[in-house]
Amino acid sequence: MPDAYIPVMLFVLVAIGFAIFTLIISGLVQSSRYNKVKLEPYECGIEPDTDARGRYSVRYYLIAMLFVIFDVETVFMFPWAVIMDELALFGLIEMLVFLFILVLGYVYAWRKGALDWV
C-alpha cells in the first residue's frame, strides 16, 4: 500500500516544480520599471500611515478554537463510519453517546453566543 503514495509524492514535486518554473519564466520575460508609488501598499491612492498588522476582531480566534474542537471530533467519526458494517448496533450506540456529548458542547456554544457573528 505505501506504493500507492509514491504518485502522490511525485505530484507534490511536480506541482511545486510547476509553480516555481512559471514564476522563474515569468521573471525572465517580464518588464519591470521602478516607481515608488507603484510599490506602496494599496489603500485607494492614499499613503498608508499605519502598519496594516493591527488588532482585529476576537471572533476570528473564537471561530478558530471552535474549528479545532469540532473538526477533530469529526475526524473521530471517519474510522467508525468505515467499519460500521462490523460494529452494527454496538457502534451505533457508542457513536450516539459520542454525538450526544458533541451536541451538548455545540448547544453550549450556541447558547453562549459563540456562534453569533454580530
Binding site: V14, A15, S26, E40, E43, Y60, F78
Partner: protein
C-alpha cells in the same frame, strides 16, 4: 520503477495539462455565460467568438510585471501563491476520472480523507498572502477567508461522514464502485448530503453567494489585492482548480463518477424481463471518462450559473448558515444514516 515512477509521471503530466487548459477555458466559459445571462456578448475580439481569449490571457499574465510591495514580506509573499496552488493540484492524484486504473493516478485507501486534508492546506496560502502583503484590505480579506473556509469545512467534513457510512470505504474508486453495487447513485440515497456538500463547496471555493473574501465593493480585490502578474495567476489557477476539484468530488461521491445512467435496471426489477430495454445497454458504448467529464461539466456550469444568478450574503449571514444551519443538518444526517444502516443490516 516503470510502474511506480514513469507511468504516474506521465499521468501527472496529462492531468496537470488538463487542469491548466480547462482552467483557462473555464475562465472564458464563465465570462461568456455571465455575459449571456446579462444580455451581453462577452469576449469577442480574440479569435472567433473570443475563443482564443483563453490562450492570450495566460500569456498576458506571464508577461505582466510582478510587483512586490515595499512593505511586504518578500519570501512569504512568494510562498503564499505556491502554497495555495500546490494542494489544489495535488488533490487530482486521487480523483478517479474513469473506471480503469489507466484513468486515475493512484487509488489510496484513505482517498476521501486525503482530499479533505489536502484541500484544507490551501487556507494557509490565503492567510499567508494576507499577512505577507502587509496591507489592510488583504489582511482583512484573508482573515475573513480563513474563518469562512474553516467554518464550512466542518459542515462538509461532517456531511461526508454520512457518505462514508453509505459506501463503507474511504477510497474514491471504492465509493464509485459501491454505487455500482448498490445500483443507486448516492445522490439519490443521500440527497441532503449532496446539497450540503455542494453549498459547502461553493463556500470553500469562495464563489458567489459566499464570495465574501473577495467582495470587491468592500475589499477591492480580496486577499490578492497586492498580487500581480504570475503570482496572481497562481492564485487564480488555485481557485479554479479548487472548483474543478469540488465538481469532481461531487461527481464521484454522489452522481456515480464514471458510471453511466441506469446502471442496474435489471437488478431493480429482476422479475420483469420486459423492462430490460430500460437498461439502455447502448450507453456502455460511451467510454467511462466521457461520463465523468460530462457530469463534472454540469457542476462547473452550475457554479457559473449560480454566480450569474445570486447576490452575495452578508458576513454574519454566512457564518449563521455555516454554524447554525449546515452543521445541525449534517449531524442529523449522520444519525439518520447510521440508524437506517443498522436497521437494514
Amino acid at each position: 520503477m516503470i510502474d511506480l515512477v514513469i507511468i504516474p509521471l506521465f499521468k501527472i503530466a496529462v492531468v496537470l495539462n488538463g487542469v491548466l487548459v480547462s482552467v483557462t477555458f473555464m475562465v472564458l466559459l464563465e465570462r461568456k455565460v455571465i455575459a449571456w445571462a446579462q444580455s451581453r456578448l462577452g469576449p469577442m475580439r480574440v479569435g472567433p467568438w473570443g475563443v482564443l481569449q483563453a490562450i492570450v490571457d495566460p500569456i498576458k499574465l506571464i508577461l505582466k510585471e510582478d510587483i512586490t510591495p515595499t512593505k511586504a514580506d518578500k519570501w512569504m509573499f512568494t510562498l503564499a501563491p505556491i502554497l495555495s496552488l500546490v494542494p489544489a493540484l495535488v488533490v487530482f492524484s486521487v480523483v478517479p476520472f474513469g473506471g480503469d486504473a489507466l484513468f486515475y493516478i493512484t487509488d489510496i485507501n484513505v482517498g476521501l480523507l486525503f482530499i479533505i486534508s489536502v484541500t484544507s492546506i490551501g487556507v494557509y496560502g490565503i492567510i499567508l498572502a494576507g499577512w505577507a502583503s502587509n496591507s489592510k484590505y488583504p489582511l482583512l480579506a484573508s482573515l475573513r477567508a480563513a474563518a469562512q473556509l474553516i467554518s464550512y469545512e466542518i459542515a462538509v467534513t461532517m456531511t461526508l461522514v454520512s457518505v462514508i457510512l453509505t459506501a463503507g470505504t474511504l477510497s474514491m474508486v471504492g465509493i464509485v464502485e459501491a454505487q455500482q453495487e448498490t445500483g443507486f447513485w448516492f445522490g439519490f440515497v443521500q440527497p441532503v448530503a449532496f446539497v450540503l456538500v455542494f453549498i459547502g463547496g461553493l463556500a470553500e471555493t469562495n464563489r458567489i453567494p459566499f464570495d465574501l473574501p473577495e467582495a470587491e465593493q468592500e475589499l477591492t480585490g480580496g486577499f490578492h489585492t497586492e498580487y500581480s502578474g504570475m503570482r496572481f495567476a497562481l492564485f487564480f489557477l488555485a481557485e479554479y482548480a479548487n472548483m474543478i476539484v469540488i465538481a469532481a468530488v461531487v461527481t464521484a461521491l454522489f452522481w456515480g463518477g464514471w458510471l453511466r445512467p441506469f446502471p442496474s435496471v435489471d437488478a431493480l426489477f429482476p422479475s420483469v424481463g420486459a423492462l430490460s430495454f430500460l437498461n439502455l445497454a447502448f450507453l456502455d458504448l460511451i467510454p467511462s471518462w466521457v461520463w465523468f467529464f460530462g457530469k463534472m461539466f454540469v457542476f462547473l456550469y452550475l457554479f457559473i450559473w449560480i454566480r450569474a444568478t445570486l447576490p452575495r450574503y452578508r458576513y454574519d449571514q454566512l457564518m449563521r448558515i455555516g454554524w447554525k444551519v449546515l452543521i445541525p443538518i449534517a449531524l442529523a444526517n449522520i444519525v439518520v444514516t447510521a440508524v437506517v444502516k443498522v436497521w437494514l443490516l
